[in-house]
């Protein structure tokens, strides 16, 4: 999750807008959201 947080920050820096990232963590699909202030994560199926 630490790694995901860093990745989100980098992506945000590049894209300059809020980010939704769909990925797989521990074999479960996740949707991670980051808007420059805080990070949130939920299951996405």
């Amino acid at each position: 999750m630490d790694y995901a947080r860093d990745t989100m920050r980098n992506l945000y820096k590049l894209w300059t807008r809020p980010i939704y990232l769909e990925t797989v963590i521990d074999e479960r699909k996740r949707l991670i959201y980051y808007d420059g202030r805080e990070i949130s994560e939920r299951r996405s199926e």
Binding site: D6, T7, L11, W15, T16, R17, P18, I19, Y20, L21, E22, T23, V24
Partner: protein, 499 residues
């Protein structure tokens, strides 16, 4: 040192990444010069060693110094020499065979055994058999009369008696009783075409040779000369043996089947010797031709400057009456393009370091090298194509050998057409994975250990390919630049591996 920093220094994540990149790159570039070195060892002969070439019986040092593009005999056919190297002060081994062939080369130089396998000089034992190339029959091709005309009686001269022939030789210092100013066969003769050499040998045997119950015997003033005569005879396909006689002269002896070959290829000029040889022939009917091999009788160590050449395709050449293996790749790449001889040791050290397999780690250089070796082996033996793929018998597959010898050609093709990913995709075979004991692993949260998760070929290959794609990082693609209709949002998908 970089590894130490990576492991223990309080680094920021990005610093860590950079150090890791530097370390990986350093390891990557070091082996660039030798990815295909298939470890043959240095293969060289000392100055004065005679090679059978299409320009005559030349000295190896002469060929190397002048970078002569000669063709040499590989035991079956003519091969082009394409590379020349000299090494100062190498450890050498000098061996002598029962027949009197002598050869001195670097300790790692290899000679052929009768069964076709190779043996390093420093591993050769007294009593072992080595291959003698059966009559290379390789001569200088240019028929322009050269210096050699002085040493050969012209077409109008026929000797009637042994004394006349002996006088001809003595005048040129070539007989045992002569002034012995000439210690070797004149260089001009060694560059002469076949008929001239035959004429020279004929007058030599006329003047200094005898036929008795024990074959044809030639007495010569010096060891070097007897050795060269033996090599010239060998070039005609005549096996002889050479020994020192008490009191000085050296004898070259031709017996049995070889005497018949001698009669046909060289023969005597003098009638009474011709007849004597004929009589000798009749006494030895039923003699089998001798085997083209010889026994090592002495092995000595020394140091000397050595000369190496590279021979196309088969990488071997006939010299000093034995079959020799050349060195390639490394001699070419490492000595001419990359390093000096003084750096060889550190190169070898580095090389073994680079391809060493660490504990629990996959070494990509080792993997690459092993795969290239595997490819060379498979294409040499014809282990590819429909027929091989469809063969179900594991034993038969393992012993598969069509003797195609396409290995090296395939290596060049692979290097040209493939990158890391396509290379592994194409050439990583189930057999290779099994042999190299490759496996995939994963972290088990319950036991807090890394465990082998699979030895399945498919999974191993998948993991390997993921590692090599995008440096093992997942790809992130923009899927929808306006996700949830919130203006400029991004929805991205991270997928691992190939697309």
């Amino acid at each position: 040192m970089l590894l130490f920093l990576l492991n223990y220094a309080p680094l920021e994540r990005w610093q860590h990444t950079i150090l890791e990149i530097i370390r990986n790159e350093a390891y990557y570039f070091a082996p660039q010069g030798m990815t295909k070195i298939l470890n043959e060892g240095w293969a060289c002969l000392v100055a004065g060693s005679r090679l059978f070439t299409d320009r005559g019986l030349l000295r190896v040092d002469e060929v190397v110094r002048q970078r002569l593009q000669v063709r040499v005999s590989d035991g079956n056919t003519l091969r082009e020499v394409y590379d020349w190297v000299t090494f100062d002060q190498r450890e050498t081994v000098r061996l002598r065979t029962r027949r009197g062939f002598e050869l001195e080369g670097s300790a790692t130089h290899r000679v052929m055994r009768p069964d076709g396998s190779w043996r390093r000089l420093d591993e050769l034992q007294v009593g072992e058999q080595v291959r003698v190339p059966p009559g290379p029959d390789l001569w200088a091709e240019h028929a322009v009369p050269g210096d050699w005309v002085d040493w050969v009686p012209d077409a109008h001269t026929t000797f009637q008696t042994e004394a006349e022939a002996a006088a001809f030789l003595a005048h040129r210092g070539l007989t045992a009783g002569g002034s012995a100013s000439t210690r070797d066969v004149p260089e001009a003769i060694l560059h002469a075409p076949k008929p001239a050499v035959a004429a020279f040998l004929r007058v030599l045997f006329d003047g200094a040779g005898q036929v008795g119950d024990d074959g044809v015997v030639l007495a010569l003033p010096a060891a070097a000369m007897s050795q060269t005569v033996q090599l010239l005879l060998l070039n005609f396909g005549i096996l002889s043996s050479r020994s020192e006689q008490t009191g000085g002269p050296w004898e070259v002896r031709v017996v049995g089947h070889a005497a018949r070959v001698f009669q046909e290829a060289v023969g005597f000029g003098l009638r009474h010797k011709r007849e004597a040889l004929q009589r000798y022939q009749e006494t030895c009917t039923g003699w089998e031709a001798e085997a083209w091999s010889d026994e090592v009788v002495t092995v000595e160590r020394g140091r000397a400057v050595v000369y190496d050449l590279s021979v196309e395709e088969t990488h071997r050449y006939a010299a000093q009456g034995l079959m020799n293996h050349n060195s390639y790749w490394h001699s070419r790449i490492m000595t001419q393009k990359a390093i000096r001889p003084s750096e060889i040791i550190s190169f070898a050290d580095l090389h073994s370091g680079v391809v060493a397999t660490g504990r629990g780690q996959l070494n990509p250089y080792k993997l690459g090298l092993e795969m290239l070796r595997d490819i060379e082996d498979r294409w040499d033996k014809g282990k590819f194509g429909k027929e091989y793929d469809e063969c179900d018998d594991i034993l038969e597959k393992r012993k598969w050998d069509r003797q195609l010898g396409l290995g090296r050609q395939k290596l060049f093709e692979v290097r040209k057409l493939y990158n890391d990913v396509t290379f592994i995709d194409e050439f990583l075979t189930p057999e290779f994975v099994r042999e190299q004991k490759l496996f995939a692993f994963r972290y088990n949260r319950d036991t807090d250990l890394y465990e082998i998760s699979s030895r399945e070929f498919r999974e191993v290959k998948e993991k390997l390919l993921f590692r090599l794609t995008n440096f093992g990082q997942p790809f992130i693609y923009v899927e929808d630049a306006n996700y949830n209709n919130r203006g400029s949002c991004i929805s991205a998908t991270a997928t691992r591996g190939l697309t």
